[in-house]
Subunit: 330 residues, 2 copies
DNA sequence: ATGAAAGCGCTAACAT
DNA sequence: ATGTTAGCGCTTTCAT
């Protein structure tokens, strides 16, 4: 068994409350006794028990970060920012990945509640947030806010997709496909909406045969490209819901010996790290991932540490088009 | 405040020990009472307090996964496997990333000890493992074992680098550079050793001017390439300590209009997901990441749940060369 | 089958 | 400045 404050107290012939005070830097201990306590604690190899402390303070100094999929580098980057920020403020982050499984997501939330995390940052994909509200702890959603009682940090996906599509049109591409993921995600419908708006604003209404759905993987992107091809409807450009998908499309277009960007234009989304690599050079819509992660963490921690002073915030960042080599010059 | 078992007990006019028994599926509660308890717990919105439980059971049902850098996809993939495996067995994983900072690493270990994690999986980069041994909990190192009291799962890096270098030689490259990371890591020295062995076995001893060190990033790889170039010593191939580095080298070689693989051969390490993409097609040395993660988690959890039945294990996996387009056919 | 009581390691009033 | 006491919410003997 490990050393407790009582062990230290016994060894020194004092009470454990003095030890607690000393160890926590609280007033009410004479300098010399404090020194002795610290010294003894050190040499006895004392390690405070966070569970015991948390039980009485009602704080676990832990937050949860829940996202659908850590195979997606986008979430990993945000996770990293969250983790560093939280860590710098003394909090530990537990990261959860639920493979787009709603049941699993609920289980994780429940488990985090049992662990008594002090707050949650979540990219959820369901509609219903009641279970988040019931938790009674601060929650920052990485989705558009559905309830004023939850905070949210988001990027304007409609705008992003609109701008990307607009760019493709201005580049002179005529038949622009949209290749996305699950229909039931907010992200999909927002980006699709932006795409549809730009299309009907500049060209014509959406041709449903030019819309394809799958997953957030390059395999899925490749598959969608092939499906699109199979329909026989011509297309000379594609807006992809994210860079992974775009990569798969890129691959297939190269296989078909299409000249990029001359004969085929391609825009991804998220500016994942490989998008900027020399061999990729993918035009993409960038989101301020770093900012999102840092801000989400700070917001959540503020909500935790001074709930009153922090106003519930709902931030919406703007995405930014990064033009590289997969779209032809305007 | 949230609902406790005492609240449930009070409401039902019974003791909290019965509630505890019922909730934990332990014997000693009549079927009907159990049913009533479960029902009441549900409708009162009871959520067990893991900290309180952990305090008495001396189990947190949590493990820690500590690696130098989550910007490295290699670690992310392993983390993912660890996380899923642990989760399936009812354990939560806390992931820590310490930016190759040894002080930070120690801090994290200490913090995890305070949280009373039940075990640790760690890719450590120091020499001294005494602080890990002192913890008194199971530890699985993702490095070669330094102490018989720690378990370890590792891949033979010397062999891997040897095989890669051998391949480059068999392809007919004459002047093979080694581009790596920090000198002080075990990984570096192992892979360098494999490189050196193959070189002196087949060609000649290592030319120190063809060895360059930096970090695990493509920027660093590019920088090293330029440095190598600046020395004026000719080189027509490079073995990189990982794929990120190789990417940077790839970039620069393309910039210099070198024909790959005709004029310049390149081998990476780790088979990160982008290595296999059509636009990359990097020859690389693959490690069984999935296997490592899953095995590490299982081993650790076995060590935790039945310490006696599990023998301390030291596994060494074999790496596998994946030949793609950055090395010319033999 | 149920209840009573002790205690996990700690913090925080409240005494002294 | 130090000690005493009472929990935090839970599991676990030990009685009944």
């Amino acid at each position: 068994m490990s050393v407790t404050i009582k062990d230290i107290a016994r060894k020194l012939g004092i009470t454990h409350s003095s030890v607690s005070r000393a160890l926590n830097g609280k007033p009410g201990v004479s300098p010399e006794l404090r020194r002795k306590i610290l010294e003894t604690a050190r040499q006895m190899g004392y390690t405070p028990n966070a569970m015991a402390r948390g039980l009485v303070t009602r704080q676990s100094m832990t937050i949860a970060f829940i996202v659908p999929d850590f195979a997606n580098p986008f979430f990993v980057e945000i996770a990293h920012a969250v983790n560093s920020t939280a860590s710098a403020r003394g909090f530990t982050t537990i990261m959860c990945d639920n493979q787009w499984d709603h049941e699993e997501e609920l289980k994780q939330i429940r488990l985090m509640a049992e662990k008594r995390v002090d707050g949650i940052i979540i990219k959820s994909f369901g509609e219903d947030d009641s279970y988040l509200l019931d938790l009674g702890i601060p929650v920052v959603k990485l989705n558009p806010a559905t309830s004023p009682d939850l905070s949210s940090i988001d990027v304007d996906n409609v705008l992003g997709a609109y701008l990307a599509t607009e760019h493709l049109i201005q580049c002179g591409y005529q038949n622009i496909a949209f290749i996305g993921s699950h229909t039931d995600t907010q992200t999909f419908s927002d980006r699709f909406q932006g795409y549809a708006r730009a299309l009907s604003h500049y060209l014509r209404t959406v041709d449903a045969r030019l819309v394809c759905q799958g997953e957030y993987t390059h395999e899925s992107g490749a598959r969608c490209y092939d499906q699109l091809l199979a329909t026989g409807v011509p297309f000379d450009a594609a807006l992809c819901e994210n860079d992974m998908i775009a990569l798969g499309v890129y691959d297939r277009a190269m296989r078909d010996k299409k000249k990029i960007p001359e004969e085929f234009g391609l825009i991804g989304y998220d500016d994942m790290f490989f998008a900027g690599l020399p061999m990729t050079q993918l035009t993409t819509m960038a989101q301020p991932k770093q900012k999102i992660g840092v801000k989400a963490a700070h917001l959540l921690l503020d909500l935790i540490t001074h709930p009153d002073k922090t106003k519930q915030r709902h931030l919406v960042y703007k995405p930014e088009l990064i033009v590289r080599k997969t779209t032809r010059p305007i």
